[in-house]
Every structure is written in C-alpha cells, then in structure tokens.
C-alpha cells in the first residue's frame, strides 16, 4: 500500500522526479556506467588476462551498487567471494590453460554477429519491459535493510535449512573439483577411496 501511495507521487511530489535526481541516484548512475563499460570491455577485449581484470572492475562496481542499495553485508560478501576467490580462480584457470599474453586472435568465435543480434534484441526487449513496468516505482532507502546484524538475524532464524543445505552443496562441489583436477592415472599414486588388499594394510585398520 505504501508503495502505491508513493507511486502516486502525493507524498513528496517535488523530490521524486527524473529531472531532480537525488545524490544517491547520481552516484548509482555513474557507478552503473562504469560497471557497464567494464563489463562490455570484459566481453569484447581480445587480451584474456585483461578481460579478467576488467571483470574485477565490474564486480567491484556492483559491490558499490549494493552498498548504495543499503545491502551492506551482501556488498562485502560480493567483495570477499567474487573479488577474493572467483577472480583468483579465473586467473589461475587462464594461466593453467596457457592463455597467451597479449592479443589472441581466436578469443571470439565465428558467430559474433549472431551473438550481437541476440544480445541487442534481449537488451531492447527487457529494457522496454522493465522501464514500462517500473516507471512509477520508487525505492524508499530510509531504514537500513541490510546491516550485518539484521542479515544474521534473518539468515539464522528463517533461512537456516537452506543455508546448511547450501554449505553441504558447496562442500560437495569443491570435493568434486578436487577429485576432477587430481593428476595421475591412479597407478603411480594411491587413489583415494581405493582399498588396499595387502595384509599389513589390513592390520593397520
């Protein structure tokens, strides 16, 4: 109901207009332009390591956007998980697959025009839809909705079971990643989970 009232513009008609943006909106727009530019460079550059580094800029800018939307804890989790681990993993992956330093001519596949068409079409459709749907919706950024205290309270009072299930899923995925990326074919080194049949080993157990 309050959003409907706010949408009607009767509460603060002067403050809610495209023509007089608030400071938060200006900062959001500037950081948004930075994020979008970094993302575009990240998917179009031909230097593979530079693409990963531009992805750092895009994801860090998104953390700033989360802060502007008063989601503090999510912003810091974004910094820790994405900038701290995902990008490092990507960089290690690029190095381990011997990504060439400098320009690599085969970074893009042959269906680049089709990809451009699909991307532009989806952008046009979704922007039209979203702008038409939320033209008169305003976010009230008054109360802090994402402080760490509040996040901890709702995460461990309402979302405990999904949280625990997800931690088990993360453990399983990372154990699977370790098993997949082990070197050796099992003859040179003992395999995990393979039972030894020697009598001495049996005694140890």
């Amino acid at each position: 109901m309050s959003t409907l009232l706010a949408a009607a513009g009767s509460l603060e008609p002067a403050a809610r207009s495209y023509l007089s943006p608030t400071g938060q909106e200006i900062v959001f727009l500037l950081v948004g332009v930075l994020v979008l530019g970094a993302a575009v460079v990240s998917v179009t550059t031909r230097q593979l390591v530079h693409a990963a580094l531009w992805l750092v800029v895009a994801l860090g800018g998104l953390a700033v956007e989360f802060l502007l939307l008063t989601a503090e804890f999510v912003a810091w989790v974004q910094v820790l998980v994405y900038l701290g681990s995902v990008i490092v993993l990507v960089l290690f992956g690029l190095m381990l697959t011997r990504a060439p330093i400098g320009r690599s001519p085969d970074a893009d596949s042959g269906n680049r025009p089709a990809a451009l068409a699909v991307g532009a079409a989806s952008a046009a459709t979704l922007v039209t839809l979203v702008v038409d749907a939320f033209r008169s919706s305003w976010i009230d950024l008054g109360g802090a909705a994402g402080t760490t205290r509040l996040t901890g309270e709702y995460l461990f009072s309402h979302w405990v079971l999904p949280f625990e299930a997800l931690s088990v899923l993360l453990l399983a995925a990372l154990v699977g990643a370790i098993v997949l990326s082990r070197t050796g074919d099992g003859r040179t080194k003992p395999r995990a989970g393979k039972l030894r049949t020697g009598p001495t080993k049996q005694k140890e157990r």
Binding site: Q24, L69, G93, A99, G119, F134, Y154, L180
Partner: protein, 112 residues
C-alpha cells in the same frame, strides 16, 4: 531511488553476459560471462528486496545463496576446463566436439 535504475542496469548487464556467452570461444571467458549474468540477477534481487521491504528478506538471502552457488559453479567449471585442457590440449568451446552430432558428409567419410 527510482526502481528503474537498478532494473535497467541489471538488464543491460545480463544482455552483455548473453553476448559474451554466445560470442566467446575460450571456455574461461564464457564462464566469466556467466558470472556477469549471475551478478545481474543478484542486483535485481537486492533492488527488489529493498523495494518490497520483505520482512523475511528473501531477496538478500537468495543473493547470498546465489553467490555461494556461483562460487561452487566456477570451482567445478574450472576443474572441468583444466581436465579438458590436460587431455585435449585446447580450451576452445568449439574444439571439443567428440559428443556432438556429425554432419552427414562427415559420417560418410568416416564410413568409407
């Protein structure tokens, strides 16, 4: 803040991610584009959570869960990419076609 700003930014980021997934040849660059798409969804979740003022904060909780799943996904994906690179010496998406359907001309050549 106007809701259209985060929504439009999320949509544009998602489209950039779609372009990256379709246009890139290196698998790791494709994974990076997938990360961009996931982050666009995260931005939407956070923005709508703040807009709706949900008492359970489902949007922010789901954002945290999405970040966790993205971390698991990138770990597994990179392990698979490294395995493929070790066995087939390539990290190109269109270089791994062992399980794909062959064209009729190719199958005739193989039959001969």
């Amino acid at each position: 803040m106007h809701l259209a700003y985060p929504a439009v930014l999320a949509v544009l980021l998602f489209s950039v991610g779609v372009y990256g997934v379709l246009a890139r040849r290196n698998v790791i660059l494709v994974l990076m584009s997938v990360e961009l798409m996931l982050n666009a969804v995260n931005l939407n979740l956070v923005a709508f959570d703040v807009w709706l003022r949900d008492t359970l904060h489902a949007g922010q909780a789901l954002t945290l869960f999405t970040i966790t799943i993205a971390a698991a996904e990138i770990g597994l994906g990179l392990a698979i990419v490294l395995l493929v690179h070790r066995t087939r010496r390539t990290a190109a998406v269109d270089g791994v076609t062992a399980l794909g359907d062959r064209h009729e001309a190719d199958t005739e050549e193989v039959a001969r």
